[in-house]
Amino acid sequence: MAKKLTKVASGIPGFDEISHGGVPKGRTTLASGTSGSGKTVFSAQFLYKGVKEYGENGVFVTFEETPVDIIKNTNSFGWDIGKLIKENKWAFVDASPDEADNLEVGTYDLGAFLARIEYAITKVKAKRVVIDSASALFTHFQDPGIIRRELYRLTYRLKQLKVTCIMTAERPVEDGQISRYGVEEFVSDNVILLHNRLTEQGERERTIEILKFRGSSHDSQEAALIVGDPGVSLYPRPKPKLTGKGFSEKISTGIKGLDKLFHGGVYKNSTTLITGASGCGKTVTTLHFIMEGAKQRENSLLIEFEESPGQLYRNAASFGWDLKKHVDDGTVQLVCHYPEDLKAEQYLKIIQDLVIANKIKRLVLDSLSALQRIYDERKFRQFVIGLNAFLKMHDVTSYLTNTTSQLLGITAITETHLSTATDNIIILKYVELGGQMRRLLSVLKQRGSMHDKELTEFEVSSEGVQTIGPFKGIENLMSGSARRIQVSFGDEEQQEQAERDFIGEAVAGRI
């Protein structure tokens, strides 16, 4: 087996996960990215956390921003670099532009630059060094040949000094060469790429990707990079693994009639999609599920994108449930957000942290359609698949809601990417019958088990959802304009086909 490269903790949440342990120790790692991709703050955090959390002092070599600017700009993260300088734990090598003109007459090297870095390293006994950015050297000096040679000499010297270094480099465009001047070719066996792209939704999206770590493993997927408070965090993409334990035990939905349709409730750790128009009973159905959890002493997590806590409490109270009490005593974790508040990866992280910290067994996300509205298709699919994989791994039974725009009837659809991710589908809808709006509930799909395929009528009373019984002898219910028929439901095959079509439509959120 090849000798394993040791790594040092980066101090950047999520990075050690995708890098399988951190930044290669005693080496130089190139962090290349387009402008605005977060290179400076990423590398500054590596240095700052190195000092604060891992007792490794640092040297920051800056070419673009002045030390004063860096100290000022990172103040907003609550960092006090000035204090670290006073404590002799942090040193700057200031190579930011100065007034004087540079004239080149004859040949030269970067002896002074190297001497300054070495001096700073010795002075603070640094273990970490950041050079931001190597590309700037090429703009300072006219002879790229000399700069290449000197950068090579620098990385060699840093290796001898046994410091772990992040060197940034400028990338002219996304998806072009790795870095301007091909710095990566002579500097480093380890390359990280920082991306800054415009999404289809017109939002800036920063991501990070490890291109190579010579002699060491790492993830190859991109992770979202978010600059916020305090500092930079990465949100690695979920790694869907089909590690769910498989279905065996069933749990109650809290609605008797629904449990019956499911032949005894939904499977533990299954995912149920509840789809229906606004106001047709989705929220109350999810509340049943959560209150049943509370009864069984199973902790729940409710992620709410559509209603405020106050609205929810009031809503629950109208059915005689004291949701607030459960939130207060911790049985129910409630997260209310505008969907736009955070990025998909951040929501996923919040969910993961809460599920693990609170031993969550039931989860409701209301609604998935709110997220679908703001994410592009790829991101949305990743979110759903990642969420599902995580929930299955942790034996969480979940309800995801999907709000459809149409009150009655069915519209055509194409995308069906949710169908593979969900185990069960419940449809709630209004039907017009005999001059009345009636409520219909149907279980469209239950993976791994038989279920009743009847279209069931229900009402929402002060007790919550009450099923009444099947709509028998009526056809065209799903179209929204039902009419009575003489014969009972069509033959099996036809019904199967209708069901398949319907699943496609339902999951696309158009029913």
Partner: protein
């Protein structure tokens, strides 16, 4: 006659470039400034903090501290005319010669 000139030359130990720069500079000074200068030669390996203060990256680097403007000339100073131009100390006849 030019005003008194203060110069610093940053070098790295005994490297060939450094030696050459010292030699070339002395030639220029002897020819053009005739003693109306002070020159400090700084070895960055011995005094890296001075290089930090003056923000020197390359060696050899010649800086003209006085008279203003501050100028930096990088390299082994192999062209006397360019050095004079760079120092901004050239008298008219030198200008005429280079043009």
């Amino acid at each position: 006659m030019a005003a008194k000139c203060i110069l610093k030359l940053y070098v790295t130990g005994q490297t060939p470039n450094s030696q050459k720069a010292i030699k070339n500079l002395k030639k220029v000074l002897a020819m053009e400034l005739k003693g109306a200068y002070t020159l400090e030669v700084i070895d960055v390996l011995k005094n890296p903090q001075l290089a930090e203060e003056d923000k020197i990256l390359a060696t050899p680097t010649l800086t003209k501290v006085l008279p203003p403007p501050v100028r930096k000339i990088i390299g082994d100073l192999s062209s006397i005319d360019k050095v004079l131009l760079g120092l901004d100390l050239t008298v008219e006849k030198e200008m005429a010669k280079t043009v």
